[in-house]
C-alpha cells in the first residue's frame, strides 16, 4: 500500500493533538456519536466538531449521518499505514540488536 506524502502529513497532524488521540482511543472501542465523544472532554461542542473534522480530513475516521445523529468510526487500515513507517525502521534496528546480542554471546560465552 502506498501513502501519499500529503496524506501522511494530515495523519501525523491529526495525531499530534492529545484530545484527538483520546477520540481515536475511544473510537478504537467502537463507533460513537458526537455527544458520546464530547462527554468525557471539557470542551465546547464546536471545538469537538473541529477536532472531528481534522480527524475525518486525515482519513483516520469516517462518519455517517442517520437521522439527526452523526456516528464516527475508526478506519483501522489507515492507522496501519501510518505505523508502517516507524514499524519498518524499528524492525531494522531490532534485527541489528538481535545480532548484537548474538555477537556478544559468541564473543564471550556467559559464565
Amino acid at each position: 500500500m502506498i501513502i501519499e506524502a500529503a496524506t501522511l502529513d494530515r495523519m501525523f497532524h491529526a495525531l499530534s493533538d492529545r484530545s484527538r488521540r483520546g477520540m481515536i482511543d475511544r473510537l478504537g472501542r467502537g463507533p460513537a456519536s458526537v455527544t458520546e465523544l464530547a462527554e468525557p472532554l471539557t470542551m465546547a461542542l464546536p471545538t469537538v466538531l473541529k477536532h472531528l473534522n481534522v480527524l475525518e480530513g486525515s482519513g483516520l475516521v469516517q462518519s455517517e449521518k442517520t437521522g439527526r445523529v452523526r456516528t464516527y468510526h475508526l478506519r483501522q487500515e489507515r492507522l496501519a499505514e501510518l505505523e508502517r513507517w516507524i514499524g519498518e525502521r524499528k524492525a531494522g534496528w531490532n534485527a541489528a540488536f538481535d545480532r548484537l546480542d548474538q555477537f556478544l554471546a559468541e564473543e564471550e560465552p556467559t559464565p
Binding site: I2, I3, E4, A5, A6, L8, D9, F12, R84, W85, I86, R89, K90, W93, N94, A95, A96, F97, R99, L100, D101, Q102, F103, L104, A105, E107, E108, T110
Partner: protein
C-alpha cells in the same frame, strides 16, 4: 513522488544486553565488531563498510538487498563518551533517493543483566513512503553498484 514533505517522529528502543557496558560499547566502537552485527544481513551484499569511531568521525554502510536495491547509510558521529553515550546523525538513501535523516542517541547503563541500552532516534521521513517506482528505479541503480563491487573484488582492488 508527490510534493516534497518532511514528517518528524521520535522512537526509543530499550534492550537488555548480557554484557558489561564496556563490552557493549566496544561492539559499537570497534569497526570489525560493529560490522559483524550492524552491516551483515543474510542475503544482503555489502558494497562498502567503514567506520571512523570518534566525535567528528563518520561511518558508511552501503548494501544491496535481495532484489539488488541499494540501501545507503551514512553517519557522522557528534558525541562520544566512552562506555556511556554515543550521539550521531545519519541519513538513509534507497537507490539515489534520500528517504530519511536522523539524530540517534545510544546510552549504556549498568543493569542486573549487564547493560541497559537505550536507543533513541529522532527522524524526519522525507517525501512520503517510497513507492514501487522508486524501488524499481533503485533496483537498477543497486544492481549497477553491485556489479561494480563484484568487478572491484574480482580485480582484487577492493
Amino acid at each position: 513522488m508527490t510534493q516534497p514533505s518532511a514528517t518528524h517522529t521520535t522512537f526509543t528502543i530499550e534492550r537488555q544486553l548480557k554484557a558489561k557496558p564496556e563490552r557493549a560499547f566496544r561492539a559499537w566502537a570497534n569497526p570489525a565488531s560493529k560490522q559483524t552485527w550492524f552491516a551483515c544481513h543474510d542475503g544482503w551484499a555489502t558494497i562498502e563498510y567503514r567506520l571512523d569511531f570518534r566525535a567528528g568521525g563518520s561511518e558508511r554502510n552501503h548494501t544491496a538487498d535481495g532484489e539488488g536495491l541499494l540501501h545507503a547509510y551514512d553517519a557522522h558521529y557528534l558525541d562520544v563518551v566512552e562506555n556511556a553515550r554515543i550521539v550521531y546523525a545519519y541519513e538513509m538513501k534507497l537507490g539515489e533517493t534520500r528517504i530519511s535523516a536522523s539524530l540517534a542517541t545510544v546510552t549504556f547503563e549498568p543493569s542486573a543483566v549487564g547493560t541497559r541500552m537505550l536507543f533513541t532516534e529522532q527522524v524526519v521521513f522525507l517525501d512520503g513512503y517510497p513507492d514501487d517506482g522508486l524501488r524499481r528505479q533503485g533496483t537498477e541503480i543497486g544492481l549497477d553498484n553491485f556489479e561494480a563491487f563484484l568487478d572491484r573484488e574480482a580485480s582484487g582492488t577492493h
